[in-house]
């Protein structure tokens, strides 16, 4: 069961239209290392985690990632709000406009639609947690590149928050990996 909270995890108030920035940010919505991939990866891997701690962590980080999906969607929505078809075309979203108008859709910065093959769920907690650690670093690196692509403080501020969360999640996944390795090597398990 999940419940929705009618609030963003972190404020997003973008005042200036920027279609070009919306386009590159789509990678964090529907790209391989984006927030949707992250949320679905953790929320499906959790079923085969071996300990209460690792089940809790994947549930909770997966849930937080859903809040990040909403933040990215909000940023893209606000960056393209009231953009004319001509402005969308000039910013590289002419094809997107033809298919989706001003809607949100899960594709990457180049228009490639999201696919489940971006994520794995191995049933092997060591393999899965290593994938999660890598995923957090790839998202962290992506946020750093996105931050270099804009000088709008309204965009940079939430991007910096999201980048920082990747760092924290990486830290927690590392702790979970150590704990799971300890659990799997303990005598009572064998």
């Amino acid at each position: 069961m999940w419940i929705y909270e009618k609030k963003l995890q972190y404020p997003v108030n973008i005042k200036n239209k920027d279609v070009r920035m919306a386009k590159v940010m789509m990678t964090q919505y529907g790209g391989p290392d984006g927030e949707l991939s992250a949320a679905l990866r953790y929320l499906t891997q959790r079923y085969t985690m071996p300990t209460g701690k690792s089940k809790a962590l994947l549930t909770d980080i997966g849930t937080e990632e859903l809040a990040h999906v909403e933040m990215i969607a909000t940023m893209i929505y606000q960056l393209t709000r009231n953009a004319t078809p001509e402005e969308l075309e000039a910013g590289g979203l002419g094809g997107f406009y033809a298919q989706h108008d001003h809607a949100l859709y899960w594709n990457d910065a180049n228009g490639v639609p999201w696919t489940a093959s971006y994520v794995q769920s191995q049933g092997d907690p060591i393999a899965d947690l290593h994938e999660d650690l890598a995923a957090e670093q790839k998202a962290r690196a992506t946020y750093e590149r996105l931050i270099t692509l804009t000088d709008d403080p309204d965009v940079i501020d939430p991007l910096r928050f999201l980048r920082q969360r990747e760092v924290i999640h990486f830290q927690r996944f590392g702790e979970a990996l150590n704990d799971v390795q300890f659990h799997l090597s303990s005598p009572k398990y064998h």
Binding site: T74, R172, D179
Partner: protein, 83 residues
């Protein structure tokens, strides 16, 4: 643009809510940490208090039985978070 009372209260809720999320993740890998648990419980109480205050004045933040609504059904009120 200065924040109005509603926005200020929402900002406080977002800050407290963030603290509880971050402590929650920490506790997932450190369930024996008394200090983190104490902080988590302290922030949770304060968050509940501010949520109740906000929801009485401006309508529910959560639905599905987590917060009551005045008449008419307040959940449909705008703006939504992305607006």
């Amino acid at each position: 643009m200065p924040m109005d009372e509603r926005q200020q209260l929402m900002r406080q809720i977002q800050q407290l809510s963030f603290a509880t999320v971050d402590l929650n993740l920490y506790l997932d890998t450190h369930p024996m940490c008394q200090q983190a648990l104490f902080e988590y419980n302290r922030f949770t109480q304060e968050l509940l208090r501010l949520r109740r205050m906000y929801e009485m004045k401006y309508g529910p933040i959560t639905n599905f039985g987590y917060a009551p609504s005045q008449y008419p059904w307040q959940w449909v009120s705008e703006p939504w978070p992305w607006e």
